[in-house]
C-alpha cells in the first residue's frame, strides 16, 4: 500500500527529529552502569525468594546420607523418593491433609456462591433498606471484637473442636462481596431488564445472566479464597485445642517443626534395620521429614500459582475500588 503524502512527510520529520536529538537517544555509559546494577540487584533478590524452596526441595529428594554430610546444597544428589514414601507412616498427617483439602474445596465453593449471590442482591436498588443491609456487612471489615470474645462466641455456638468452624464463619466475606458488587454494577443493566420483562425471577436472572457474566471476578476471589483456606493456621490453633484429629496441614506442620522428639524413628522403622540403629541418621531423617512435610504443604500453592498469575492485577486493583 502506497503511503500518503502526509505519512511520508511525517516519516521525514521524525527522521529529522531523531537526527537532531541524536545525543538524547544514544546509550550513555551511565545507562549501562545503571542497567547492570539494576539487573543484578533484582536477580539477587529474586534468587533469595526462590532459592529456599529449591533448597528444601533438593534436600527432600536426595539421598539422606549425603544430606547428612552436608553435600546437598545446590543440586540434588542420589535421587530418591523414600522421604515422600515415608510420609505414610507419619501419624495424623493424612487426617490433616484431608481436613485441609476438604475445607479448601467446600469453604471456597460456599464463599464464592455466597459472595456472588449477596453481591448481586446488594446491587438491587429496590431491596428493602438496601443501604443499611449493605453497610451492615461492610462495617464488619473495620472492627473486630477481638480474639478472646471471638473464641468465647464459638464456644457458645458449640463450634470449637468442630470441623464446621473452618467453613461457616468464612461464608460471608464482606471484602469479596464488595468486589463482586463493583463488578456486577459494570454489567449493562439492559441484559437484566430484558430478562425481567420476560418474567424471569431474581434467582433465574442470577443463575443465567449474572453468574456466567461475572465469572472472571468469581475466579479471582475463588483463587484468593482457596489460598487463604489452604494456608489457614490460626483458626486451627485457636479452635481445635482438644482435637488434634482436625488440625489443618499448616497447624500440623507447625507442631512437627516444634517437636523435639524425632520423627526419624517413624521413617527408619519403614526403611532399613541398620538405619534404625543409627541414632544420628534418625535425627537427620527427622529433619528431612520436616522438610518433606513442608514441601508437601507448599506444593499445591506452587501448582495453582501459574493460574493465579492471571488474576493478580485484577484482584489487587479491584481492591482499590471500594464502594
Amino acid at each position: 500500500m502506497a503511503k500518503t503524502a502526509q505519512e511520508k512527510l511525517d516519516a521525514k520529520r521524525e527522521k529529522a527529529y531523531y537526527k537532531k536529538h541524536k545525543n538524547m537517544y544514544k546509550v550513555k555509559p551511565s545507562d549501562i552502569v545503571f542497567n547492570i546494577i539494576n539487573y543484578t540487584i533484582f536477580t539477587l533478590f529474586t534468587i533469595t525468594c526462590i532459592y529456599p524452596f529449591w533448597y528444601l526441595f533438593i534436600n527432600t529428594i536426595s539421598d539422606n546420607e549425603k544430606v547428612g554430610r552436608g553435600e546437598v546444597n545446590f543440586y540434588p544428589k542420589g535421587l530418591t523418593v523414600q522421604n515422600y514414601w515415608a510420609l505414610r507412616n507419619v501419624a495424623d498427617l493424612g487426617n490433616s491433609f484431608i481436613v485441609s483439602i476438604s475445607r479448601t474445596i467446600i469453604g471456597t465453593a460456599l464463599m464464592v456462591l455466597a459472595s456472588a449471590f449477596v453481591g448481586y442482591l446488594v446491587t438491587k436498588q429496590e431491596m428493602w433498606h438496601r443501604s443499611i443491609c449493605y453497610r451492615f456487612l461492610v462495617i464488619t471489615m473495620y472492627f473486630n471484637a477481638g480474639l478472646i470474645p471471638g473464641y468465647m462466641n464459638m464456644v457458645m455456638l458449640g463450634l470449637t473442636n468442630n470441623y464446621l468452624v473452618y467453613i461457616i464463619p468464612g461464608i460471608v466475606a464482606p471484602y469479596n462481596i464488595i468486589l463482586v458488587k463493583t463488578y456486577i454494577e459494570s454489567i449493562p443493566a439492559e441484559l437484566e431488564e430484558s430478562a425481567f420483562i420476560d418474567g424471569a425471577s431474581y434467582l433465574v436472572v442470577f443463575r443465567h445472566i449474572i453468574w456466567p457474566l461475572s465469572k472472571p471476578i468469581l475466579a479471582t476471589i475463588a483463587i484468593f479464597g482457596a489460598v487463604g483456606h489452604w494456608n489457614s493456621f490460626q483458626d486451627s490453633l485457636i479452635y481445635m485445642a482438644n482435637t488434634p484429629k482436625l488440625y489443618t496441614l499448616q497447624h500440623r506442620l507447625y507442631v512437627y517443626l516444634n517437636q523435639t522428639s524425632n520423627l526419624g524413628s517413624l521413617v527408619s522403622s519403614a526403611t532399613t534395620a541398620e538405619q534404625a540403629k543409627n541414632i544420628a541418621a534418625q535425627q537427620l531423617s527427622g529433619q528431612v521429614i520436616k522438610y518433606t512435610i513442608s514441601m508437601v504443604s507448599v506444593l499445591p500453592i506452587l501448582m495453582v500459582y501459574p493460574f493465579m498469575m492471571r488474576y493478580f492485577e485484577k484482584g489487587i486493583m479491584l481492591g482499590a475500588v471500594k464502594g
Binding site: 533484582f42 471484637a145 470474645p149 489460598v227 494456608n231 520436616k290 504443604s297 493478580f312 482499590a320
Partner: protein, 490 residues
C-alpha cells in the same frame, strides 16, 4: 367500608411489627447460653445455648458422664430435656418462617398467622416437656436427697413460655383481624421484601460471627475461669481494667508488648516506600521477560503461610541449615562443630522480623505500583525527555508524583492498623530466647487468654483496648484523608 378495612389493616400492621420483634427475640435467645431453657438440672453445661444443645446430644451431656455412670440420675432426664430442646427449636423455626411470610400480601399474612399459631403452640409444648424434665429431676432429688445435683427452673424457660404465649395470642388476633383476601388469587410478596428475605440468612451469618462476639466483651467485667459461668457472684466491675495498670508484673508486660508492637509497626511504616521503589526500578528494566520473571518469583512468598516461611527459615538458618553448610564449605566453620542456630539468636529481632515481612510481601505490594506506573501518561515522559530530563529526574518528577495518591492511601491504612501486626509470624518465630523482643500485642492477647496464660478476662480487656484504639485510628486516618484529598479510604 373501604375506610374501615384500611383502619383494621393499620392496626394489624402495628401488631405485625410487635409479632416480628417477638419472633426475632426468640430467634436470638436460642443462641444465648444464659437463657437456655433446657437447663433443668444444674449439671447441664451452662455455656451451651439451646441451639447447640438441640443439635448435639453429646454436648448436652458432656459434663454429666460421671453422674450417669454412677446412676445417680436417670438418663431419661436428659433425653426428655433433649427432646424438649428439639421441639422448641422446631417451634422457633416455624415462627421465623411465619415472620418471613408476614411480609407478603394478605393471603401470605394469613398463612403466616397459621404458621405462627402452630409454631408457638409447638413451642409451648416444648416448654411443657422441659417442665416435665424439671419435675422428673425434682422427683429424683426427692428420692435421693444426698445426691450431688439439684433441679433448676431456668429463667430462659419462663421467658420462652411468655414469648410463645404472647405470639400465640397475637397470631390468633391477627388471623381474626385480617380480611379474608378472597379477592386475591396468589400468594405474593413485593420484590423489595423478597430481596430482603434472600439477604437475611447472610445478614444473620454476619451478625452471628461479627457482631455477636461483641457480646463477649462482658467477660471483661467478670472473674471468669475457663469452663465456669458468669453470674452476679463473680461480677467484678472494672477490676481487670485497673489490674492492667496497677499490677506491676502485668504493667511491665503490657509496656514491653506495646514497645515491640509499635517498633515493629513503625519499621514497616518507615519503609513502606520500598515497594514503590521496587516497582519504579523494575519498570526501568527494558526486558519484558526479565520483568515478568522477577514479578512471578518475588510474589510467591506472599502466598505461603507463615508456618512455611518458618520451615524455610529453619532449613536455611538452623544448626545444620544452608548457611552453616556453606560456612563449612568455605572453611569458616570446622566440620565437626555444630554451627549456631541463627533463629535462636537474640540480636536485632525487630529488624529480622521486619526483614521477613518485607521479603514475604514486597513483590506483592509492588504489583499495585507497577499497575499504577503503566497508567501514567507516556507523553509526560516524552516531553520530559525532550526537555532533557535524565532518568532519575523523570522518576522523581513524573513517576513518584503519579504514585503518591496510592502510596498515601496505603500509608494511612498502615497507620490505622498499627496495633495489628498479626499473630502468625511472631508465634512461629517465637522461642525462649527472643520472646521478650518478639511478643506483639496480638500474640500477647492469644497467650494471655488461650495459650497457657489462663486469664480470659484480662485478655479480653487488652483486646477491647486494641479494638477501640484501632477503630479510632481508622476514623482518624479517614478524616485526614478526607481533609487532604477529599476522598475517604473506607
Amino acid at each position: 367500608m373501604a375506610k374501615k378495612e384500611k383502619v383494621a389493616r393499620g392496626a394489624s400492621d402495628y401488631l405485625f411489627w410487635v409479632y416480628r420483634l417477638l419472633i426475632a427475640l426468640s430467634a436470638v435467645f436460642i443462641f444465648m447460653p444464659n437463657l437456655n431453657p433446657i437447663r433443668v438440672i444444674d449439671k447441664i453445661d451452662p455455656n451451651i445455648a439451646l441451639f447447640t444443645a438441640a443439635f448435639s446430644y453429646s454436648s448436652l451431656v458432656q459434663k454429666v458422664g460421671l453422674l450417669l455412670r454412677l446412676g445417680t440420675v436417670k438418663e431419661t432426664v436428659f433425653i426428655i430435656a433433649y427432646v424438649g430442646a428439639i421441639v422448641i427449636l422446631v417451634g422457633v423455626v416455624l415462627l421465623v418462617a411465619g415472620a418471613c411470610m408476614s411480609l407478603g400480601n394478605i393471603l401470605l399474612q394469613r398463612l403466616a398467622a397459621v404458621f405462627s399459631m402452630i409454631g408457638s403452640g409447638i413451642g409451648v409444648i416444648g416448654c411443657m416437656v422441659e417442665l416435665i424434665a424439671n419435675h422428673t429431676v425434682r422427683v429424683e432429688k426427692y428420692n435421693n436427697p444426698t445426691a450431688d445435683f439439684y433441679a433448676m427452673t431456668p429463667i430462659g424457660l419462663k421467658l420462652f413460655l411468655i414469648i410463645f404465649a404472647l405470639i400465640l395470642i397475637i397470631s390468633i388476633a391477627l388471623r381474626v383481624m385480617l380480611p379474608s383476601g378472597a379477592d386475591l388469587e396468589e400468594y405474593e410478596m413485593e420484590p423489595k421484601y423478597k430481596l430482603f428475605l434472600m439477604f437475611l440468612p447472610f445478614g444473620l451469618l454476619a451478625f452471628v460471627f461479627c457482631y455477636l462476639p461483641l457480646w463477649g466483651w462482658r467477660y471483661a467485667f467478670f472473674d471468669y475461669q475457663a469452663g465456669g459461668t458468669l453470674s452476679a457472684d463473680n461480677f467484678v466491675g472494672f477490676k481487670w481494667f485497673g489490674y492492667l495498670f496497677k499490677n506491676a508484673a502485668t504493667r511491665v508486660d503490657v509496656l514491653r508488648v506495646m514497645r515491640n508492637t509499635l517498633i515493629m509497626s513503625f519499621l514497616g511504616i518507615a519503609t513502606s516506600w520500598l515497594p514503590m521503589v521496587f516497582a519504579i526500578f523494575l519498570t526501568e528494566a527494558k526486558s519484558e521477560g526479565f520483568r515478568r520473571f522477577v514479578q512471578i518469583f518475588t510474589t510467591i512468598p506472599n502466598f505461603i503461610s507463615w508456618v512455611l516461611v518458618y520451615a524455610l527459615a529453619l532449613s536455611i538458618f538452623d544448626t545444620t541449615g544452608f548457611i552453616n553448610q556453606l560456612r563449612v564449605m568455605i572453611g569458616s566453620l570446622p566440620k565437626d562443630v555444630e554451627g549456631p542456630n541463627y533463629l535462636m539468636s537474640t540480636s536485632a529481632i525487630w529488624i529480622k522480623m521486619w526483614a521477613w515481612g518485607t521479603w514475604k510481601g514486597i513483590g506483592w505490594s509492588a504489583i499495585i505500583y507497577i499497575a499504577g506506573i503503566s497508567g501514567i501518561d507516556q507523553q509526560l515522559y516524552e516531553a520530559a525527555t525532550v526537555d532533557g530530563a535524565g532518568r532519575f529526574q523523570k522518576m522523581w518528577n513524573i513517576t513518584v508524583p503519579g504514585l503518591l495518591p496510592t502510596f498515601f492511601v496505603l500509608l494511612l491504612m498502615a497507620v490505622a492498623a498499627i496495633l495489628s501486626n498479626g499473630l502468625d509470624q511472631y508465634l512461629v518465630f517465637q522461642n525462649a530466647m527472643n520472646e521478650k523482643q518478639i511478643k506483639v500485642l496480638d500474640l500477647y492477647v492469644y497467650e494471655l487468654g488461650l495459650g497457657g496464660g489462663g486469664s480470659i478476662p484480662l485478655s479480653t480487656v487488652v483486646g477491647m483496648f486494641k479494638s477501640i484504639i484501632s477503630v479510632i485510628l481508622l476514623f482518624g486516618a479517614n478524616s485526614i484523608s478526607k481533609a487532604l484529598r477529599g476522598e475517604s479510604i473506607i
